[in-house]
Symmetry: C3
Subunit: 221 residues, 3 copies
């Protein structure tokens, strides 16, 4: 049990709900903003006007989590119950639109790292939510993967591209592995923060290692 | 309070529900038929057979409202609770299939005006529904926009086109502006018919002005 | 009433629920595996890696039924409530990935027949589920059609192809006809197994006849 943060000890249990809610909120804002910026940058380079940029930023940031909530039957989706996530996504996309030159000046390696961060954050929060609602481990893994990659898939469909998750090796795989790790730790320990931490490390590490070493998944033909 | 229709005065409040329901029904039938015809015409010109034409007409007419209802958690979607909207959409698409020569003979300006009518009608009804269910102003605006443009987005995805809402300047913008106006008037007056009238005028005017004067939204690059 | 199987007689009514559940399960497993194999084969030939193959197999096998359940408000979708359908779809897709040479060696006529079987099975189970929940005949027909063809539509959208249901004559039509037949028999007899049998025969026969004789639906232009 070493490596378990103090907030996971029984003594801290009373304050866990608010702590967990606060941790969740910070993570969600961070991942939402990251994906909103990325979506907006992709839309700018696809030649879309400012509305198209805001729409694609919104979609990349929030559609994955909204699809997860639809499939869980948790409606309206969490992203639509308060304005905070919507404002985060749209503000991030608007900022990226205004300073797209700055975004473009970010080195590719930094962008890939930020994207891997968002991917890992969403995979673990999506998996944790599904797990805390009693979903089986298959569904926890799949919904974590959908939370992390669903927005990007919809972006690619709207921009008429083959979805990155189907072509980029070890992208969806990293999200699914992180979600699976989150689900396994959840089912053994019932400690959401530990589970999310493990899932985050698995997803982020796997994605970064795959990019660094050019790992590819096998093909049949 | 000048400009407020008599049905919005307190004296008329008792009959408002049925009046509102009837107004809603007439508007919905009109907008559904308009979008069903448009979707069918697009499918005919894409070379689809009669089933494809009916499917695309159905999608353009009803998918936006169905997506709104999924996100509101109002399931099954209103369009599927009675046969009336389904029959309207399919009958309109079938009629367009049979007399596509007549539809094609309609001058472009008339078609754009009819499309703007459908856009404005769906934007305001979608916004009013979200608002009456207690959604915040951001969600009211977004769901009004989705109601008005979601069917067209799905049509473009199915026909492998970049969605019009991402490329046509001031199309989605008009829908969102009308939905926002509906939401603002709703939150200040709680008078659905006034709010919908204002939203309709905003969306329709903005779209027609943009088409007439060739307004474009800014691009970043 | 001749032609009604003995399980539909009043004497057998007591055991009908479990019989129906078992029949349903067998049919669902068969149709899910068939569509999972087909989706995986399509993904292999599109050059996707093993994750892409599993994703597309999962989508083709389960997305239609999941969309049906979202629109019925039956959430989480049945496919996500137990691991069985998920495992079936993924195992079938994995098997197809491993022995794609074997799948490719299957004669085209056999593949078309297997696909028609899956189409007919999903059309009738989708229609029966919608009907047993009190949906009107239009919705029963549409949801049967969505159950049967929704996964294939999503596959084509992800692989940037025009959906087969919009281009292949008498594919969606066969599904809709089978669903309609199921709905009509359900509303007259309230015997699910008879209704599903009739719907299956209608959908499967119509699809196979259309393929055999090259039937086409009319086009407007």
């Amino acid at each position: 049990m070493s490596g378990v943060s103090s907030a996971d000890t029984p003594a801290a249990a009373a304050s866990l709900p608010s702590l967990r809610a606060r941790t969740f909120t910070i993570i969600d804002v961070a991942a939402t903003a990251l994906f909103g910026i990325e979506g907006a940058a992709a839309a700018v380079h696809a030649g879309l006007d400012v509305l198209g940029v805001l729409v694609v930023g919104f979609v990349v940031a929030l559609a994955g989590g909204m699809l997860r909530d639809v499939l869980l039957g948790d409606l309206p989706p969490a992203a639509l119950r308060t304005p905070s996530r919507i404002i985060t996504a749209i503000a991030a996309a608007a900022a990226a639109f205004l300073v797209v030159g700055v975004v473009d000046a970010i080195p590719g390696g930094v962008l890939i790292t930020l994207d891997a961060l968002g991917l890992a954050l969403f995979a673990m929060t999506g998996a944790e939510k599904a797990s805390s609602r009693g979903a089986n481990l298959w569904v926890v893994t799949i919904l974590g993967g959908i939370t992390a990659t669903g927005g990007g898939v919809l972006r690619d469909v709207l921009l008429l591209r083959t979805p990155v998750v189907l072509t980029e090796s070890v992208y969806g795989t990293a999200a699914l592995a992180g979600a699976l790790a989150t689900g396994i730790v959840m089912s053994f320990t019932r400690r959401p923060r530990t589970a999310m931490l493990v899932g985050f490390v698995v997803a982020f590490s796997l994605r970064m290692l795959a990019v660094t070493f050019g790992w590819q998944l096998p093909r049949a033909l």
